[in-house]
Symmetry: D2
Subunit: 329 residues, 4 copies
């Protein structure tokens, strides 16, 4: 007999929360029972989006949503807030923040700007990128958007490239910076502009380094695009055929697609989906290989992957609730 | 007594031609006497822009414009067309195409897709990037837009970096591809998209290699931006302080500006200007340096630099006619 | 016993064709058996989109696709081409072009630029906008994108407004102009721009006039947006409460939504969906009412509505295959 | 003997202030002696833009800038702040806010949300739109951006149209809303979106009504564009030829241009300039005329017009310092 899984979303009114809610509503086995939001607590669901109607619960404080007894909790909170979250016993929790990603918890001070309040607890969470490392338990640290793209592109090639050669040039749409109001998200700054930011200090750099086993030079740029990102990874091959390795890594995936030779990944093609796409190019002049990955930062880079991880923990088909239906979006 | 320099613009109806015309019209010592255009020959100037009025000559065939006896000719033609151009004796000619940039003329077949029709003539043209290599004579090969940015960023550092380490990740607005109609310039493709193109085969790669003395891994990307470009260059330092070298190279320039530490170049800030801006960042984790250059592909990357070169050949102040007035654009 | 409906799409490689294909692939009761395309005939499906795989038939000539014996044919051809199409006996045909919309067939010369080749046949087609006028038979003339929005906004109010007062100011993304390459679709023209076009001569004007029973002043504008449109309709109320009329017209609809008072339609909210949203505002200073409708020109304005119409003819739930799942896109 | 005019800019770090500063720096007869800013007081000029260097004074408090004894003061403050400003004796003051535009000062409560603190003083200010009503004294109320466009389009036609018929549908880039951080200026809202706002309540409506002598139905929309606006005005002609009236009104202007028949105004063409362009279209089906005006909201819609007004008061050529040089931008 099928029983429905109840869901609470904390931080449901941010971009990641809203996208997680969207997937939960499309998921045949989930029922949203609590939505937490500091800014919208006390409001009905339609305060977030006029299309959300009376069948949904209204917004409550995040603490109240956490205590609602849901089987499955999505944490879409800020990093520091999520770091002090205590998982209710028995619940499956998928944390979309960075609070449980770095095993060396002393790194939080440098890269996240706060001392981790519960360092001993981090080991209970598994860093889960389904195609490479499925969740190992009910507490899941969902990878960062840039990190997902860089790791999908590079992890299968680890043994076949020179670690010291790796450069990751990343470009993201503005939703990557969240719904919070800041000068760098003002459309007067974003439109007809592109610029690098947080060079050498972005918190996804140590996450990528942890996953690959070596540091990479990672530089993110902000694009005049609503959502989606693309990373261009430069590597010096040192061993087996990279195309074969990449193809093998994702041969069975319904989510990650290696494109045929000569076809470029396009941010626009993965936008509004939970797909990721990868391509490999050669630069004969410098004997480098270039691996490019495109995905939607709110899809495979956040809510899509969070739902994929939740499905794996719960024993569902990993694509339930994901935006993969049809082929065009 | 001041005598006016007469100007002919060939290919005046393309983006580079139109921008060159704009600067020529702002230049106190130049008079436009002929405008060539295959598509607009026979039309009045207002066919190109409704703001251009009766004081300008109408469009004629490019051959007729070339034969108009102008003192100064700007070639804004396609590469192959420009390659077969025979400069009239005595004229100053600035070629904005790639037809006279590569000294090893046998490279044209591979990178430009045609055998150079006048290979022996290429040596008469000087590749001129004013801040580094001013024109050596009346025939000027104006650098490519991406190449200008990459060379401004890297040439001053040549002796202080490991050549094998250099990666140039470039991002350009759509005007870089010209006014010609093609699928990749259709707004339905460009908007909310970004993708790499011509990986390992772009014709600015050998131009950069020639200028630096070694090949670099160069990957261009198309942005949903009208004009402007930004290159992010990754290098392994091997010698003297890069910041000092960069500062010295452009200390006296009115066109190229090295930004203070911590300030990022922004495509939006140089858009519609003839400025270029540069910044240097460190990535402690990989001990790499990142040099970023932003410029307008139609400004310092084409028409602005062409006018700067023309001014230098003619003995004018190099900034006459350039878009540098005021500070904000 | 459920039997599958076979589908042929003519003009499958244009925007409307591709979107129709997307919905057909999501539709549980449809099977695509033929895809016609002049430009891609002979290519596999992946030539259109790399995500389309071997389970789909390759592209054939449009005539061949028409003759494939499909139960349901979507005509996504140009207007003139569609006008000479002869429906195979027994087939359901939904024409997304304008070829069968105008009952006064002599209007085609003026508004579409060609004499209708089969004027007597037009009467066999029913102009079907499901919420107002469901299909009356197997041959369906699917409304135009702008016309759909203007009619949804105005048709329910016909008896309660002064016909002479009506102004329809329309704004559309670039996909409304199709995938064809033209100067006005070049991203160098579209980005950071907006301008009116075809003032007084757009072919959706007579279509709106036919539906409402009186002419309206209709001016379309091109936006720097990939897809989606918004119409702002200005009317002088003359009778019953407009809000009540509008609410009643769409009370039961799963596709068209009247927003609560004070909430503005947003192109971005309906983009990539098959929803339309409507809102009514008052302008006390002039005692006018303003009715605004937003929809995706390729969704409710083309392929979504075409599928809705096909479902109604075939007796399916009208939302099968439509992009209405979830609430957020 | 030429004496330089000293200038103070209050609110210099907002969009309008920054653009005014840009024009003042290009103006041969002006010298900027004080820049006021609440947010940047105490910082050097480069805090606003890295290109501003040491020859400029640093930012001070707005009150201090007001007291600096400048000959010419530009008020780029918020509406309420500007309303309580007391002009220093002898100074020329151009107020870019709405604080001195409405002669019926009791309207401020309704349209601006505050009681005017100095209602008796408003009569000392002249509402100056140079092509129609040049400044009448040293205190100038500079028109609003939307109002400028609507008035340029409609004022010359006042006697030849039915006042009750007038509809003004306006579309603006995001800089129209200022640099302040708000949800509707967040790029995640602005990109790939368009929506109407403040229908029936925008403060430029009474300003237009005052200038024309009758109310119009005015609806503004927000575009995914950095700067620039376009208004589409619908009118019922009732008298003399509108094209003649429009042509006569701007026959001698260097700033406002009536386009030839059949040419559409384009926001992109006036962006970054101080030009305005106008065109007239007929809609035969409804016998309406459509007058379209495009201008840059920060140029002719704010700083450009402010400088034009200042020039007129000071007896300079009205185009000094304006962005009209060259023909292309």
């Amino acid at each position: 007999m099928q029983t429905v899984t109840t869901v609470a979303i904390l931080g449901a009114s941010g971009y990641a929360g809203q996208e997680t809610l969207d997937r939960a509503l499309s998921h045949p086995e989930l029922e949203v029972v609590a939505m937490g939001s500091d800014s919208l607590a006390g409001s009905s669901a339609s305060a977030l989006d006029v299309r959300l109607n009376g069948s949904l619960p209204g917004f409550v404080e995040n603490d109240e949503a956490a205590a609602a007894g849901a089987d499955l909790i999505f944490l879409c909170l800020g990093n520091e807030r999520a770091a002090s979250f205590e998982p209710p016993p028995g619940a499956v929790v998928v944390d979309l923040s960075g609070a449980h990603r770095l095993h060396e918890t002393e790194l939080y001070a440098q890269w996240y700007g706060f001392e981790h309040p519960r360092p001993a607890a981090v080991a209970s969470w598994s860093y889960a990128l389904p195609e490479l490392w499925p969740p190992a338990g009910p507490l899941v640290a969902n990878p960062g958007c840039y990190a997902t793209a860089a790791i999908l592109a590079l992890a299968p090639l680890r043994e076949a490239i020179d670690p010291a050669s790796v450069v990751v040039d990343a470009k993201s749409g503005v939703s990557g910076a969240g719904r919070e109001l800041k000068a760098s998200s003002h459309a007067g700054f974003v439109l007809e502009n592109v610029s690098p930011y947080r060079v050498g200090t972005h918190q996804h750099a140590p996450e990528i380094a942890q996953a690959l086993g070596f540091p990479v030079c990672f530089v993110p740029h902000l694009l005049p695009v609503r959502r989606g990102l693309l990373v261009t990874c430069y590597v010096q091959p040192s061993g087996p055929d990279l195309r074969v390795l990449l193809g093998e890594a994702y041969a069975g995936s319904h989510v990650v697609r290696v494109l045929p030779e000569g076809v470029s990944p396009e941010l626009g093609r993965v936008q509004h989906t939970d797909f990721a796409e990868l391509a490999l190019f050669d630069d004969p002049a410098t004997r480098r290989a270039v691996v490019v990955c495109a995905l939607d930062n709110l899809g495979k880079g956040a809510a899509g992957q969070a739902m994929q991880n939740a499905n794996l923990v719960l024993g569902h088909d990993e694509t339930l609730g994901l935006r993969l239906a049809g082929v065009l979006v």
